[in-house]
């Protein structure tokens, strides 16, 4: 059997604590806290030592994560010129896919495209078209960039 005075004391203490918590301005209190000083005191290395990174990674659903990433959009954002210029990627590509034949083929195709565009520009002028002609079939126009 508990002491009635003890029970009363517990109730009083709880009530007093409630009143104090309600009276406290938590936002003002947090503003006074020096978070940087607090973080300085935290030993991040020790914290990381205690964390099981492998277990953490096991819980990550990489497939779900990757399915949310638009890789094509990501690739379009890559500045290939800079990438090739700044890294050894260019040398790797040149060694793996380079060849006189592929170089000649690239040159011939791109020159032909250039001539196609040149002739097309002149034909558009000669025909005095007010509205530009569609550049690609409908199925290939959807979602195109450039």
């Amino acid at each position: 059997m508990t002491d009635p005075f003890e029970t009363l004391a517990e109730h009083v203490a709880e009530r007093v604590l409630d009143l104090i918590v309600h009276a406290l301005d938590v936002n003002a209190l947090l503003r006074k806290v020096d978070v940087n000083a607090l973080l300085d005191r935290v030993d991040v290395t020790a914290l990381l030592d205690r964390a099981d990174v492998n277990a953490l990674l096991d819980r990550v659903d990489v497939d779900a994560l990757l399915s949310r990433v638009d890789v094509n959009d990501l690739m379009r954002r890559v500045d290939m010129d800079t990438l090739v210029e700044q890294t050894d990627l260019g040398a790797v590509i040149a060694r793996s896919s380079g060849g006189a034949a592929s170089e000649a083929l690239d040159a011939a195709r791109s020159q032909a495209v250039g001539l196609d565009q040149f002739i097309d520009r002149w034909m558009q002028r000669a025909l005095r078209r007010k509205h530009p002609a569609p550049s690609a079939p409908p199925a290939l126009r959807i979602g195109r960039v450039g």
């Binding site: 040149a94 690239d106 079939p137």
Partner: protein, 195 residues
């Protein structure tokens, strides 16, 4: 204009309607290759006939049978190529492809029909080909009849990458440096090899 500029422009042309130069060059390659194969086949048949019969066999250009076989061979060459993959050897070289008018993969029967009506563009004094220049979707007469179109289908992005790689190759082997870092001793790898 440099090849690099052309390649860069070609990247944005992928999937677009192919122009007259690319299509004409592809056709020129095809007619050369198919005629050469036909001539080789005739020569092979002549040789075998000579070995078997002991008589010389010569093929007259005006021979109706030879002409008919040649026409059949051309139809087979173009028809099968378009029906099977949407491109002939010449088109593969130039990186162009036949698709349905809406841009989807060509149906085999449309490929065969395109080969059948292809001569019509010639028979009308070549006027059928004028569509490649003046028609909004660059479709020739045989394209309009067969419900097809020709597009650029080569991987210009990869070509652009190869071009950049070739252009950057002499200097790319230097390591990436931070703003304050000095160039390491010895320069690039090429110079190292020469030394």
């Amino acid at each position: 204009m440099t090849t690099g500029t052309h390649v860069a422009r070609s990247v944005t042309s992928q999937g677009h309607y192919a122009g007259s130069v690319s299509r004409f060059l592809a056709y020129a390659i095809d007619i050369t290759v198919s005629s050469a194969v036909f001539a080789l086949a005739l020569a092979a048949i002549s040789y075998v006939a000579k070995v078997v019969t002991g008589h010389d066999v010569s093929w007259n250009k005006g021979n109706a049978v030879v002409a008919a076989v040649f026409v059949a061979w051309e139809f087979l060459y173009f028809g099968y190529s378009w029906a099977a993959s949407g491109k002939t050897f010449g088109m593969a070289v130039l990186g162009i492809r036949v698709v349905m008018a809406d841009g989807t993969t060509i149906e085999p029967r449309r490929g065969a029909l395109r080969a059948l009506v292809f001569p019509l563009s010639f028979l009308l004094c070549g006027l059928g080909f004028l569509g490649i220049l003046v028609q909004r979707e660059r479709r020739a007469l045989h394209d309009l009849i067969a419900g097809t179109a020709v597009i650029y289908a080569w991987d210009a992005r990869a070509a652009r990458l190869r071009f950049l790689a070739r252009a950057a190759e002499p200097t790319v082997s230097r390591p990436v440096r931070g703003p304050g870092q000095q160039r390491p001793e010895g320069g690039d790898v090429k110079r190292d090899h020469q030394d």
